[in-house]
């Protein structure tokens, strides 16, 4: 766990200058550590993708609410009107 924290600190630049230098030296000396850093980077990338999808799903819920619930009827009609000559209002 200590190592995962060190990698985290290194990648997000939370470490001190001295710790960074030390870590970089270890990276040169330890191929397994290098590999772990790469997988951790890939993991952050996956977390971001996962989170964006969840966020987009939340936004889509808002969209559906605005375009399907009667209380927002005037809003959706206003928007649909912009497109009435281009495509029939379907969602």
């Amino acid at each position: 766990m200590n190592e995962i924290k060190q990698i985290d600190d290194y990648l997000f630049r939370h470490a001190t200058e001295a710790d960074n230098l030390l870590f970089e030296a270890r990276l040169i000396l330890q191929p397994t550590l290098r590999e772990k850093v790469l997988w951790q980077q890939r993991t952050y990338d996956i977390i971001r993708q996962y989170s964006r999808r969840k966020l987009k799903a939340e936004i889509e819920t808002v969209h559906q609410q605005l375009f399907n619930e009667p209380e927002h009827h005037s809003f959706s009609r206003k928007i649909r009107a912009f497109f009435s000559s281009f495509d029939s209002a379907q969602d």
Partner: protein
């Protein structure tokens, strides 16, 4: 909504106020103005008092935040896209991507808006629209140009899709925790409360445990899915 002005005023009786005053804080603490950048999750590390003024439910807050932006800014974006010959669906896609970009900007650093929020969102949307249409294939994904912001038609057979599916089921608890830390960038004490940890220390421990677990999964599955290194 770029900047939120909050006035904290003690509503307690003078007696209680005096007592508090004697115990902890100088008087101005009970009546002062604070200006802070508004974040989507309405969190500001420096002012824990501010949290008393917001609802506890982070997801509900976020929903209200997007609902407000949708109503304020989508008409502008829809009108623009329509004037450029785009469809309702295209306007929706562009606008939703703009919301994601805006959200990510807010979580990364407070933004000082030169104009209104809706003007800002329209600006992002115009930019996205231009990119989308400047590329030769009009319906190409925005994926590469925007670091994968657009959720495009995902190839269900790809390694990333398989991994996502797995993480959505088996690893969801950890993924939600990691999302709160790394994407929503909520402060530790908020996360502790949300996920029911005893304190910030145990939240931190759990974060690293989850990170390690997911890293192992990512590695294992990526090596299994042959197309990973393609």
């Amino acid at each position: 909504m770029g900047i939120l002005y909050v006035k904290f005023e003690s509503r307690k009786s003078p007696q209680v106020r005096k007592k508090k005053h004697n115990m902890f804080l100088p008087d101005f603490f009970f009546n002062f103005w604070v200006i802070f950048a508004f974040k989507p999750a309405l969190i500001n590390k420096a002012f824990s008092m501010a949290e008393m003024m917001v609802t506890e439910d982070v997801a509900a807050e976020r929903k209200a935040f997007f609902m407000d932006l949708y109503q304020k800014a989508f008409p502008l974006v829809a009108r623009y896209v329509s004037s450029m010959g785009g469809s309702f669906e295209e306007a929706k896609d562009v606008f939703q991507d703009a919301l994601v970009i805006y959200y990510e900007k807010l979580t990364t650093a407070p933004i000082e808006l030169q104009h209104s929020e809706k003007a800002y969102l329209l600006g992002i949307a115009k930019h996205l629209w231009a990119r989308k249409n400047n590329s030769k294939q009009r319906h190409a994904s925005l994926d590469d140009s925007l670091e994968g912001i657009a959720a495009t038609e995902n190839d269900p057979a790809s390694s990333t899709e398989k991994l996502m599916e797995l993480l959505n089921t088996a690893g969801q608890k950890c993924m939600e925790l990691l999302r709160a830390f790394y994407y929503d960038k909520l402060p530790l004490h908020k996360i502790s409360g949300l996920f029911g940890f005893s304190g910030t220390r145990s939240a931190t421990v759990q974060k690293y445990k989850c990170l390690e677990k997911i890293r192992d999964t990512v590695k294992e599955k990526s090596l299994t899915y042959e197309d990973f290194l393609e």
